[in-house]
């Protein structure tokens, strides 16, 4: 079946710049699929979306919609609908007129416009607001009007540019559910841009992680979580972020500041095959730690335990987040530093401390030592030079592409 939208080596250069804002993006979006473009600011996600929309020219590469090359087509001919971060509602028109506008431009008959507008309004719970002007509406209502305007045309695809970023946290969650519902309802292909990785994970059938204009990884949320293609994706997806520690590959084990991790044969072979250097970066997610006192002895033996002082303990009810101080080298590689600069974190957890998620029942207290366990099966190993994951997913049915992280300058 012909994919709905195809990006083939799509590149965008502003003013002959180097590196380009968007670099050779390859992406195939299936009909009805919800794809999310995510990444830090300046990564090129909005630019990519604008190229699909036709609001930006494509410097090189091809964009195909339903198999047809559309690089030169004007936005109005592509039959795509866009929802903007600032809603972009026409302030001088009522809600009804706003929603009707695209139909009016398409010269649809008045009577049909009427019914379609009312229908769409009802679907988004806007029926009572039809004669109000946007200035009198709340943020959530405005966003629904923007969506109604997009839906009413029955477009080929929805393009959404950070539509929920202006809403407060609680409203944002509600709207995420609404967006998801509407999309499933209408069955329309959707390309969604956000900088919030939680939102990306929640909404997307597949997620495209971008950095500096280069695609880092494309895949289902679960895949990105369990088998990130490189250190950037590992640190970007998941909250709190994955802990990244320097480690040393020794004959059958990984030696790092929290102890020695025994390596299974398969793991050792994989690492060898991947050409792992002696010094690597070890990644462990906070949720893979546990208070050693709460772990069954049998399981405990299969993992690694260590003791550290808890600098800070956040009690969140069912979970306790313990920030542990590590003694030992504060090493950080160029890659980690670049990452930290890009994602705006002062330092990526791992250089000086570990973030662990322990059960709420844990007795860990601030300032006290705590005995911690983790399962080495869930660790990821990365190459410090280019950040790639040396332990990729077995089989990996969902991975469409895995790119080497580019050296794109952030912002």
């Amino acid at each position: 079946m012909v994919a709905a939208i195809v990006l083939n080596q799509v590149t965008k250069r502003f003013h002959n710049e180097e590196p380009p804002a968007v670099q050779k993006v390859d992406l195939e979006i299936a009909d009805g699929e919800f794809v999310v473009l995510v990444g830090p600011s300046g990564c090129g996600k909005s630019t990519t979306l604008n190229m699909i929309a036709g609001l930006e020219d494509i410097t090189s590469g091809e964009l195909r919609i339903d198999g047809e090359r559309v690089n030169e087509w004007a936005p109005k001919d592509r039959n795509l609908a866009m929802v903007f971060q600032s809603y972009a509602l026409y302030p001088h028109m009522t809600v009804r007129e706003n929603i009707a506008f695209p139909l009016k431009l398409a010269r649809v008959r008045r009577s049909i416009i009427e019914t379609q507008v009312v229908d769409t309004a009802r679907k988004l719970d806007l029926a009572d607001l039809l004669d109000r002007k946007p200035a009198t509406l709340s943020g959530g209502q405005r966003q629904r009007v923007a969506m109604a305007r997009a839906i009413v045309r029955k477009p080929r695809a929805f393009l959404m540019d950070e539509p929920l970023s202006n809403l407060d946290a609680k409203l944002r969650v509600q709207m995420q559910i609404l967006v998801s519902q509407v999309q499933k309802d209408q069955g329309v292909t959707t390309v969604y841009v956000t900088h919030d990785q939680t939102e990306a994970m929640r909404l997307g059938d597949r997620v495209v992680v971008l950095r500096g204009g280069v695609v880092q990884q494309i895949g289902a949320p679960q895949l990105l979580y369990e088998h990130p293609a490189n250190v950037f994706v590992a640190g970007f997806i998941g909250s709190p972020a994955m802990n990244l520690l320097p480690a040393r590959l020794e004959h059958a084990a990984l030696r790092c500041v929290v102890g020695e991790l025994p390596l299974s044969d398969q793991m050792r072979r994989t690492l060898e095959a991947a050409g792992a250097p002696r010094d690597v970066i070890l990644g462990v997610r906070p949720e893979h730690f546990e208070d050693a006192a709460l772990v069954k002895p049998g399981i405990k033996q299969q993992g690694v335990t260590f003791t550290a002082r808890a600098m800070m303990v956040e009690s969140l009810g069912p979970d306790k987040y313990a920030h542990l101080a590590l003694d030992g080298e504060q090493a950080s590689t160029a890659e980690l530093e670049r990452l930290a600069a890009e994602t705006g974190t002062a330092d990526v957890p791992g250089a000086t401390h570990l973030v662990t998620r322990l059960s709420g029942a844990s007795a860990a207290t601030q300032g006290e030592k705590v005995h911690v366990w983790f399962d080495p099966d869930h660790v990821q190993v990365f190459d410090p030079a280019d950040g790639r994951n040396l332990t990729p997913a077995p089989g990996a049915p969902h991975v469409t592409q895995v790119h080497r992280p580019g050296t794109g300058t952030p912002g």
Binding site: F14, H15, S41, N50, L55, S86
Partner: protein
């Protein structure tokens, strides 16, 4: 350089940031549209000013006196020589400079006070703002007559305040003073509005912080408000200086230029329309032209005033 150019409402138009290489279809059609839209304005402006400017320069190089039509001919820079060696010219120049400097200085102070008042007044804000516009909207001629009558002994209420028989408009120094006052009255509101715009940009938080740091009102004014307002102040000063140098209406009505109150514009007018000496008159006009340009260039280069439209483009 940010690549997410679309993420805020005032972001760059798609035309901006296009590479200079092969122009895409969109860029070309955009340029065509822009050319079409600007054409009427450009045509009108060129037609009405382009040729006249060239013609004025040409005329200034000719001996063209309607009183002696037979002596019409090219004489090079002789007109300029005549003008620049004439006492009348230098007197007019001096008077114009005095009027310009004095009125702009006074205006600035008053306009600043006005702007502060308009910005902060607690009661009657709408009324004050409305009323302040009245001098701006009054026909200059009308205002000039109002002042002229006010200062005419016997007739005017202001003259009545002066000692018996003193007629300010008949002696040079006092006449110039009165003219300056009239100019100031009329144009201060416009400057006040320009300054108000700059004033509105001063963040309240900064003033509060300064107050917390122990700065009194005067210090807040001189050390916080004025420095932040600098761009607006410079624009206001530039506009007003250029305007003041061209003073004509007020002088024409109040004194017709007599009693030594002729400005350079009056001088030009007299030579052209009273003396019918087109050669000299044009030379004077061209000289004024150049002086104004020099003032503008000086402001832009020395003080760094940016032409408003151009600077705004950069921001996109």
């Amino acid at each position: 350089m940010t690549t997410t150019a679309q993420s805020d409402a005032h972001s760059a138009a798609p035309g901006e940031g296009r590479c200079r290489g092969p122009a895409s279809v969109r860029a070309r059609s955009e340029r065509r549209l822009a050319a079409l839209l600007c054409a009427p304005a450009v045509l009108v402006i060129l037609a009405v000013t382009g040729y006249p400017i060239g013609y004025a320069i040409y005329l200034s190089l000719e001996r063209f006196d309607l009183r002696f039509p037979e002596q019409h001919g090219f004489i090079g820079l002789a007109n300029y020589g005549a003008v620049l060696s004439s006492g009348y010219w230098w007197q007019a120049f001096a008077i114009t400079v005095i009027i310009t400097v004095v009125s702009v200085a006074i205006e600035f102070v008053i306009a600043l006070a006005l702007a502060l008042a308009m910005h902060r007044t607690i009661i009657g804000r709408g009324l004050v703002r409305a009323v302040v516009l009245i001098p701006y909207s009054i026909v200059t001629v009308v205002a000039s007559y109002s002042w002229q009558y006010a200062w005419t002994p016997g007739k005017g209420y202001l003259a009545a305040l002066l000692p018996e028989g003193v007629a300010p408009l008949t002696s040079q120094v006092t006449a110039i003073a009165v003219i300056v006052l009239a100019e100031v009255w009329k144009t201060t509101p416009f400057m006040a509005l320009l300054l108000l715009a700059g004033l509105a940009l001063v963040p309240e938080d900064l003033l509060k912080a300064a107050a917390m740091d122990g700065a009194g009102p005067w210090q807040r004014l001189t050390r916080v408000i004025l420095p932040i307002m600098k761009p607006a102040i410079l624009v206001a000063l530039l506009f007003r200086t250029l305007d003041a140098f061209r003073v004509f209406d007020v002088i024409y009505i109040m004194t017709r230029g007599s009693n030594g109150t002729e400005s350079v514009s009056m001088l030009g007018y007299d030579n052209l329309f009273i003396g019918f000496n087109f050669g000299i008159g044009s030379a004077i006009s061209v000289l004024i032209f150049f002086i104004v340009m020099i003032i503008a260039v000086a402001f832009v280069t020395i003080f760094g005033v940016a032409a408003p439209g151009v600077q705004a483009q950069e921001r996109r």
